[in-house]
């Protein structure tokens, strides 16, 4: 099972939208996918119309060997399941600290699903904590949405520094631009300079579109209600770029067929 985590220390950059749309595209491509909503806000569950779980004791959740399997909920889309957020998990850091190897606990829990799924997408909360360490440990690739603004670019630089300081594999980081408004000169300049400085950036970006915003109203991936929209096409292009980078079959029709 390949694990993708959508992560950024900065909030409101489009992590959940990316998780929901990319996992949907992956399931359409024939991969058995599970989304793990680690953000206590439960936004991924909201998009999939699955209510967050009632508060449970995080320590008990972490202890259970089959805890994750029992928490899996099917979405409205075949081959795509969700582990909904749990408000009780806002204190997951404190509970994790009690374990002997706190940095790899969540990865071990996710291993229990390895036979059932081909891909896992982890939607992370915006912070740097013990949970983040677990995410770095279990993820094969960290998808980092970056808004082309100085603060967001700075946050990515901080993340790279953090990885370097803690001996974490920086090659896991796969940044991509999100909420891009190409009419703004600042966005265009920042994208150009960032791409020159960070060759790891995925050569596809998500524009700032009303269709992506409407996901909250429709409570569904953008491809399901506006398949031909620029937002849907952008997520397809991002999925294609991601697959090319990590060596997966994207399951999409060839560019000339599309």
């Amino acid at each position: 099972m390949k694990v993708f985590a959508t992560y950024n220390v900065k909030g409101g950059v489009g992590k959940t939208a990316a998780t929901v749309n990319l996992s949907y595209l992956a399931s359409r491509a024939g991969y058995r996918c599970v989304v793990w909503d680690l953000d206590p806000q439960g936004a991924a569950g909201f998009y999939f119309r699955i209510e967050p779980e009632s508060t449970t004791d995080p320590a008990a959740f972490l202890e259970k060997k089959r805890g994750l399997k029992a928490a899996v909920r099917g979405t409205n889309y075949p081959g795509l399941d969700l582990i909904p957020a749990d408000l009780g998990h806002r204190n997951l850091d404190i509970a994790l600290a009690e374990f002997r190897k706190p940095g790899s606990r969540l990865g071990k829990m996710l291993d229990a699903l390895a036979d059932d799924y081909d891909l896992a997408f982890v939607d992370c909360a915006p912070h740097l904590s013990l949970v983040s360490e677990n995410i770095f440990d279990m993820a094969d690739h960290l998808l980092v949405p970056v808004i082309p603004t100085p603060l967001s670019v700075r946050a990515y630089a901080q993340l790279r520094e953090f990885c370097g300081a803690h001996g974490l594999d920086r090659d896991k980081l796969l940044p991509f631009f999100s909420m891009v408004d190409r009419r703004r000169q600042l966005h265009c300049e920042l994208i150009t300079s960032f791409a020159a400085e960070h060759p790891e950036v995925l050569r596809s970006f998500i524009p700032y579109t009303s269709q992506v915003e409407k996901m909250g109203e429709q409570r569904a991936p953008v491809q399901t209600f506006a398949p031909g929209s620029p937002g849907a096409r952008a997520f397809q292009a991002l999925w294609r770029a991601l697959c090319a980078r990590v060596g997966l079959d994207d399951g999409l029709p060839a560019a000339d067929e599309a």
């Binding site: 024939g30 999939f48 119309r49 699955i50 209510e51 928490a71 899996v72 909920r73 099917g74 979405t75 409205n76 399941d81 036979d115 409570r219």
Partner: protein, 503 residues
């Protein structure tokens, strides 16, 4: 979780469809047509163990393969790329592969039935618009009355789905599917049995009872011919040989019931068939076991020997296929068939042919028991011929118990067969090891001709001899224990009881 329902008596599909629309609120606008294939082994091992393997092929070319319980509530769905699996080893999912290996025990998966289905899907949503269950109404295009409703719960929404199934049951239109799910598509319940049960009565005339038994086992024998000819799996030949050996054994055990000249004629042609099939069976078993025998040696010599064994198997198979397709086999089977039909009509009956079958059987059982008990374990350990004779005696006794099973008290018969199995399997193992040692020596000789490294081959052969001897020693110890156990009062009482009941 999936629940399966069929139409209740008197219910109509149109009424059910309306009820489903009411419960679900919507349905897929266009019913889907797909081709469904049911897969099972020739002897229907999956069905016998309560499982169904089905593959749905859509017009778009995708294939969805499922292994699910006939009546249970848990699916094991998986997508698979064509071609469909032919053996358990073809399945890429470890859990499914392990389950199939356990259920099939080496048998191949064959397509048992194909049908075209019309599928309508109804989606059940909750108050948030969340899909909680899918109701799939499946109608075989050829038999619309045989509609089946499958209620699939979305993971995590099993509680909501249970409420829906309760509602469906309460409607009176459905009842739980009580039969093999494959039946609506025309797949008959399993009929093949490697060891068919022939209903006999103690008062039947011996020759006629024997004729019925021989007829049933001849059907089994012939049913395995396509599998041997197509080489679907090695168990076809195994079942064929079990039937053949049983037939030959009964012809010998109840020889007084058949007129000697006719019996000698058919026995001769069956003996020829036994020799023809034996060569391939020995090589089948050797090829299956060779990896274990050479497990310590993965060198080039071991590889060459394995390749040679496979080539020898292919040659033996070609010979057998030629024979089974030859005019002489057809003629032999025709003669056998004529003999059986004459025996059924009371012709060819021997001096005891008109006696009651239970009396004749009782004498045959007593004879075999006595000859097994007369064996000396020490002598059998020292002399391979004696060991082989012991094995043959055990088999003859077991075939009597299995073929004439309807004449025995079931519990006592099962216990007696179980006791015999231990002894027979140990002696059989020893026989196999002897045969394999002989075959390996022969094969090594053919490999050695033109081999660059004969020393490596000699070393391997020496190692194999030592390994097979070690295995033989372990089996010899088993034979001593099993023979002592067979002679014990406790086991003999089981046989006494068996004969009392039969008489």
């Amino acid at each position: 979780m999936t629940c399966h329902f069929q139409l209740a008596p008197g219910a109509r599909v149109t009424t059910l469809r309306a009820a489903l629309r009411e419960i679900a609120g919507n349905s897929d606008s266009t019913p889907q047509r797909l081709e469904r294939l049911y897969l099972d082994s020739f002897d229907r091992r999956l069905a016998a163990a309560g499982w169904v393997m089905e593959a749905d092929r859509s017009d778009a070319g995708s294939t969805n393969l499922r292994l699910r319980p006939c009546r249970g509530e848990n699916d094991e769905p998986l997508l698979c790329d064509p071609p469909l699996p032919r053996t358990a080893g073809d399945c890429s999912r470890p859990r499914l592969r392990a389950r199939l290996e356990r259920l099939l025990e080496g048998r191949a998966l064959l397509v048992e039935s194909i049908g075209v289905l019309r599928i309508e899907a109804f989606q059940c949503l909750d108050a948030h618009g969340k899909l909680v269950a899918i109701l799939r109404l499946e109608q075989p295009v050829a038999a619309k009355r045989a509609a089946v409703l499958r209620v699939h719960a979305i993971t995590g929404f099993e509680g909501a789905t249970r409420r829906i199934t309760r509602q469906l049951r309460a409607s009176g239109l459905l009842r739980p599917l009580r039969v093999d799910c494959a039946v609506p598509l025309g797949l008959s319940p399993p009929t093949y049995a490697a060891k068919p049960v022939v209903r006999l009565r103690p008062g039947n005339r011996a020759a006629r009872a024997l004729a019925h038994l021989l007829l049933a086992y001849t059907a089994t024998l012939r049913a395995n011919e396509p599998g041997i000819l197509n080489d679907w799996d090695s168990e076809f030949l195994h079942d064929y040989r079990v039937a053949l050996r049983s037939i030959r054994s009964w012809l010998g055990e109840l020889k007084s019931c058949i007129e000697p000249v006719a019996r000698r004629e058919v026995k001769a042609s069956l003996a020829h068939l036994n020799r023809m099939t034996g060569a391939l069976r020995d090589l089948d078993v050797l090829c299956a076991r060779l990896p274990d025998y050479v497990s310590d040696n993965v060198g080039a010599a071991a590889h060459r020997l394995a390749v040679r064994a496979k080539a020898a198997r292919a040659d033996a198979r070609a010979d057998l296929v030629d024979y089974l397709q030859s005019a002489s086999y057809v003629a032999a089977m025709a003669r056998w068939s004529d003999f059986l039909s004459a025996l059924t009509k009371g012709e060819h009956a021997g001096r005891r042919g008109r006696e009651r079958v239970d009396g004749v059987l009782d004498r045959a059982l007593a004879r075999r028991r006595a000859s097994i008990l007369a064996f000396d374990a020490d002598k059998a350990r020292e002399d391979a011929t004696v060991m082989h004779e012991l094995r043959k005696e055990c088999k003859k006794l077991r075939y009597l118990l299995e073929g004439f099973q309807s004449l025995f008290e079931p519990a006592a018969r099962e216990r007696a067969v179980l006791e015999l199995k231990t002894l027979q399997s140990a002696t059989g193992e020893i026989q196999d090891l002897h045969v394999h040692l002989g075959l390996l020596t022969q094969l090594a000789q053919t490999v050695r001709d033109g081999d660059d490294e004969p020393a490596a081959l000699d070393a391997l052969l020496q190692q194999l001899r030592a390994r097979l001897r070690t295995l033989e020693q372990a089996q010899l110890a088993r034979v001593t224990t099993a023979l002592a156990r067979f002679g014990s009062r406790r086991v003999q009482r089981i046989f006494d009881r068996l004969q009392e009941k039969a008489a």
